[in-house]
Amino acid sequence: MNTLDHDPELDQRLRRTLAAVAATVEEDASLVEKPRRSHRGLAIAAGVTIAAVPLAAGAWVQFGPEYVDRIPPANPIIGGSLDGERYWVVDGRELPRCEGSPSGIELIIEENNLVGQEWNTTGAVFGSVSADGCASGRGGEPADTYYHDGGVTVADGMLWMGALHRDVDGVRVSLEGGDPFDVDTFEHEGGTYYLLEVPSSTATFTLDYLVEGEAVPPPAGEAREHVVPDE
């Protein structure tokens, strides 16, 4: 392996910074006492085994008990790479098969899903999900599409995806105020979805959902413009 072109000044600054920041984390005496000899010693925060954490009406994050057994996944609906990181959209595996309901989609990013580790994916489906796990896929207003999208950072870029209301027939995007363009949508088991690659170096983007060519105003609390986070 070749040597790195180290910058001694930056190296030293990083070492000093990390040591100083780490030193701000101090021992809590009450915590040092754990685990006790009571057979109930180690207190751990629940969370790792949460199967599905609703993000919104139709989006979820899962940290399920199953482990990644193969990458690339079998039968991807679409796949690609962003900033050198591969990703795939697959059928929404965590939703039960409900007659008349879309199964949703699931986004698998390779860097987040190493073989042997727990699956760590993001899903989308339109409509609220009932207690038995079935998504309605219907109802609501076109503007509700704004509740059914979301993004995941990938390397220095971002993948943004969403599930569309049945009347929404287009998705228009502008990156950093540039010329707007339409995003390809795709169908999967009765639902319509899109996936947008937001390239690295993009700070903001604007997203409109269209019905017969007209942009649907976002509902209160939602916005057309999104900020790409600095991870």
Binding site: R13, R16, G41, G150, P229
Partner: protein
């Protein structure tokens, strides 16, 4: 909160390891996640996950460090996997402006690059060992570090 049962024979050893390694692991987890709460969760979970296989673990320090790195990555993703993401104000932690500025820039690195920077400059690990820890080829780790340093150098200039 979930509680684990520990057998009498294992408990003294785990207790001792816990007392010895909790703080350094907590500091590492904080550097990796930027959240004291997440760091606490990560370290507790690492110990809890190690417990059932404690007898088979040859090097608890290395094992727990690897767990913390992997769990921190999960915790980090959870932090960022939100529908609407805003730029957080960097936390002033050291009261030294130069260090706080550098820390804020480290926090803004992509997860993998940040992990490599922390493991290399805080844990003093060689790139080959970092590669083993994060399941990436050493050449890729080197590329991660190069990109991170280039970004930091640019942001600091």
């Amino acid at each position: 909160m979930t509680y684990l049962d520990l057998s009498d024979s294992e408990l003294p050893v785990i207790e001792e390891t816990y007392r010895e390694l909790r703080l350094p692991l907590l500091r590492l987890a904080f550097l990796l996640t930027g959240s004291r709460e997440t760091a606490e969760d990560v370290v507790q979970t690492a110990f809890a996950a190690a417990h059932p296989r404690w007898a088979a673990i040859d090097d608890p320090r290395a094992y727990l460090r690897r767990s913390v790195v992997n769990l921190a990555k999960d915790g980090h993703r959870r932090e960022f996997r939100r529908r609407r993401l805003l730029r957080p104000e960097p936390e002033r932690v050291t009261a030294v402006p130069e260090l706080d500025e550098t820390w804020a820039l480290v926090c803004r690195l992509p997860t993998t690059q940040r992990t490599v920077v922390v493991l290399h400059y805080y844990e003093d690990l060689p790139l080959v060992e970092i590669g083993r820890l994060v399941d990436r080829p050493a050449s890729t780790v080197r590329s991660d570090l190069r990109r991170a340093l280039a970004r930091l150098r640019k942001d600091l200039s």
